[in-house]
Symmetry: D2
Subunit: 356 residues, 4 copies
């Protein structure tokens, strides 16, 4: 066992072969371009590998609590890797547009759009074909060659992590436990909060009727918003319109976990949701850094793969996200003082057995 | 002289007074909220202080070469500070929406929109009132109180750094030097490059007429694009439409500096332009991180200052930028092989005198 | 409620008063020097505030599991803040030695050694007076003025977080549970592992007696090392010599938590230990960055407070650490395959009550 | 041209082959261990490639001013890459000691000590065999296999960047220009400054003779220190003792560049020196992060390659540095007010020719 053999360095370090050298017009910065993209692909490989573990755990009928901890660790590791991917952009920005121009034409029509691993990553996290932005009137995998395209399509057929997490959340035990039904308890707490607010407005000694009407209308709006999460029929309606992606049960369970995350049995699950949000947000940041870098490199030109560049990449940062629903949960939180206290039997169930 | 007195720590460390404590409902995380915003304001103060130096240097009739170096250092320091401001968001994200909710209502209607220093920073970098996105149908300074609003308006009356840089670029000596006129030389080089490309297409033995037509149309488009920078009348037309902000002379000089940045006398000027782009881009990144953080904290609710939150902040990242023109220059670069060589007298003028 | 009043910006932004201005020899970079140190002190304030919460939780007779989660969050937030403190050094490094020299003499004999908050932070994390490196033949608080010095000394009298964590670890319930005694089970597992290794060496068909003796000696060394943790008398001996700081029970419990961290009831406790190690390591990194920066600024001169500069600061990075013992635990880990499995009743006790 | 072919992804992504899988005892985290080390080696490759450019430029008889700018860019890029290498440690720290233990024994005796590229990097930057710390009583390249060892030894025979920079600095034109001799002018300025200080002490109305003696002794010490740089014989003496590595002419030129860096012709040279210091310091930081990570992973055990681990790595951070002399220059700076002004002809020589 020897370092170079273990890491297969002989081969690894022979894979950088600038096109500009082959064409007899060496461009110094092409080496950086190759090395940084190879580093990206190595890290994509690692992210997919961590996703294997997470999806194995969430793909089962039950997620064992010890396994959940391991999945959280893997998800938090993915976040760290993504943060490095963002930081790597700093290095690419040491290349100026003029340097890029020296070899750019030689690469056409190759393009980052052809990264199979990146597509697999998006798909496995949960991005759906129909949620993708159209790009130059072609499907996103049009520029992939076979058999990469077939592999990408096969991945689309398998359950994504988002779907697995949905099923797992839907099974959360405490949301309905004995006589406790979280949805109802939360709806009642909201009703009381809103009724209290309404009475405060109606009885206010100094507000004019016009001012009261404005504030009451705003209350009405809040109620409608909460219905969008808590009312079954309304939820399905919104889901059909694309406002929600997760199932109603899953999202209500996620809300429960946000609210009661301090209870031991909610803690690891809450960390898992937080890690998914971090994965989503850091990926969005990477897309943004990528977009800004492209704008810097190309100005208003089109990309090597023919992309309209900045605008498209910029838009994917907002739109190609798999866990928007989790971010939306913040909309539905209420202050701790208004929160329905957990019944003692639910609270006890969420504690460790060793406690007396 | 003593550390605590020098830094006025007695006062500094007494300025954190959580509203939730005063109201008798202590919320642990409000302290972080105060400290991080105070840290932001301290750093805004430092950025404005560095801008003082830079604007003093660029505000004069001539920018001395030794002073230019000092201005570049100050601009690069601003970039570093902005990078720290971006990193600070990581700390704020350790606060969860539920923690924020504990004290959020107590702050209304106070809002980051009321940061005078941030407004001054935007204005002094070059953002114009008319370039700002409308916000809740009110002018951006509506929520500022006097005398802050008056100070902000006074700053709008003074020349911004963008205007000073425009004037400085317009004076760049080598752009027209002896018989050398950069604009003409560059236009000729482009013409030759395009003519060569056209001939290659027309004479191509294997392309069909349809294919030739497509490629010739694309060439025509490139020529029109270059006219947008190099043709005086066309430039002014586009500038009137808002495509360009800088004056034509300034932007052509910037292009010259991008192309010949390796020449000693272009080097510091090019670094200044690069630092301005970095300032612009890092500020955009900060806006984005801020927007993402707000979306995480509030979901689809409105901000404490009544802002429609995420969407507005998100949009400012794209639109509230002062140096977009410099990013656009990348569009107009051509490969070194097609670049007009500098006449010997120009090249010599751009070198140090010590050379024989 | 208004942004500027809430943050007390009127006062905050008036506290930057460069000495070089007062002396009529304005030095541009003194402002940065003041602002960055004020930002450091703001963040020290926040760290101390988070330590209040953590020490309140660990200072009680029992640490409730829900509270432990909150303590972990606060500890992880401290790590994030420390990472920012490290990143801030990047900004200070934009100041060159020549710039510093312009105002350095005006500050003497003020020095960062006089930061009361930094001393409190060290003390409260667990650093003891007798563990500190001597500095210029004076006690570390000699340069503090009253009443700061009295406050620092009072803090030394109160239990530090390290002591509180020691007491908490010593109470870990599963380490001795029913018939299970972790120390004994672990010692037996080690004994078996070592016996197996010894037999492999002794029976080895190809090794010479000399080679066997070398390997057996190495085994003997391993056994002695393990005794240093598991044998009561030996542990106390080593503790008296300063090799260990934590009590034997606490450290064995920490080892238990490292080994069985995947069990739900160990998970939050393990994260707490990890956060303490991160706090320790990031603080060490900050000391190192600080030392390197000082070496850059002063070369081989002495600091404004008379410190022998780089060497002292450099050494504190290694020596002024409170949680070295936790790092040493890695020495005593054995592979999972050799690990004694937890008895079923212990394993069950570490699970949530809701599980069937 | 296609993305996967261009980057040779088919091969690249087949080079991760965990030993634990081959041995039938899969350890999840070994993949991370492989990927991160491969990423490190890719980046080492890029650093060596940038060093090729820099050494080509500095290896010539003259460094053209336009080329110097390119060398500075390459050096600044190396700094960025090193910063990424430091950040990568964060990812490795998501692996716990227990996870590492699962596959650690399988790797023996492979070790990072066998990284040929890292050795080349150290050598080419300027680290000498005789400056290296002894390691386990063997030369640092003992664990390298042929032909790697031969390549490393060949690299030791070629001029390092430090030697090339030494030669380049020694040729700095303005240090002796016409009647101006920087060393003499600086020595005179120092003499005056010290004489002035001495008179102030001697004539002081309130100081006791004892106090005066103390301060005069300190002045005497300063003078001796300056002699260590400015006196030829004393310099060579100190150099023989290892206090200085650079030649006297080179180091005095570096001091000149530090002092007059605002002059255009000094600016790029000063940035080059600053980049070399950044390279040195960031490499030291990486060694430190590496050492801390090893201490976390192994506690007090020895490394896979048999290294005594933490202590050795820790010590290399201080000792394996190539540009310590440049850091020491800060010792010899004097305030601008005491600085000898440049004669007008020198100042003019350092300006661009375009000025009237």
């Amino acid at each position: 066992m020897n370092y170079a053999d273990y890491l297969k360095l002989g081969t690894l370090l022979s894979l950088q072969d600038p096109e500009s050298n082959r064409k007899g017009k060496p461009a110094h910065d092409e080496m950086l371009f190759i090395v940084i993209h190879q580093a990206y692909e190595l890290w994509f490989r690692q992210i997919l590998y961590e996703l294997d573990l997470i999806q194995d755990i969430f793909g089962g009928r039950v997620v064992d609590d010890a396994d959940l901890g391991r999945a959280v660790n893997a998800a938090e590791r993915i976040v760290r890797i993504e943060q490095l991917l963002v930081a790597q952009v700093d290095i690419l920005e040491t290349m100026t547009p003029m340097d890029f121009l020296e070899f750019r034409d030689l690469l056409m029509p190759a393009s980052g759009f052809q990264s199979e691993q990146f597509r697999l990553l998006e798909i496995r996290l949960g991005l759906k074909r129909e949620e993708r932005l159209p790009f130059n009137d072609a499907s996103y995998d049009a520029s992939l060659e076979e058999p990469a395209r077939a592999r990408v399509r096969a991945a689309e057929e398998r359950p994504s992590l988002r779907e697995q997490v949905d099923a797992w959340l839907s099974r959360t035990p405490f949301v309905d436990h004995g006589g406790f039904h979280f949805r109802d308890a939360y709806a009642r707490a909201l009703e009381e909060m809103l009724a209290h607010d309404m009475k405060q407005i109606t009885d206010h000694p100094h507000l004019s009727q016009v001012e009261k009407d404005v504030q009451l209308a705003s209350l009405q709006k809040s109620r409608a918003m909460f219905d969008g999460l808590l009312d079954d029929a309304r939820y399905e309606e919104l889901r059909a319109q694309g406002t929600w992606t997760f199932s109603r049960r899953a999202l209500q369970a996620a809300l429960f976990l946000f609210l009661y995350r301090d209870e031991p049995a909610a803690s690891a699950a809450f960390r898992m949701l937080k890690a998914l949000m971090d994965i989503d947000e850091t990926m969005a940041l990477w897309r943004l850094r990528h977009a800004l870098m492209v704008s810097r490199m190309l100005g208003r030109k089109v990309g090597t793969g023919g992309s309209s560049g900045y605008d498209y990449l910029r838009a994917t940062a907002d739109r190609h996200r798999a866990y928007n629903d989790l971010f939306a949960i913040a909309t539905f939180l209420i202050p701790r003082s208004a929160l329905p206290p957990l019944p003692e039997d639910v609270r006890r169930a969420m504690r460790y057995r060793y406690e007396a």
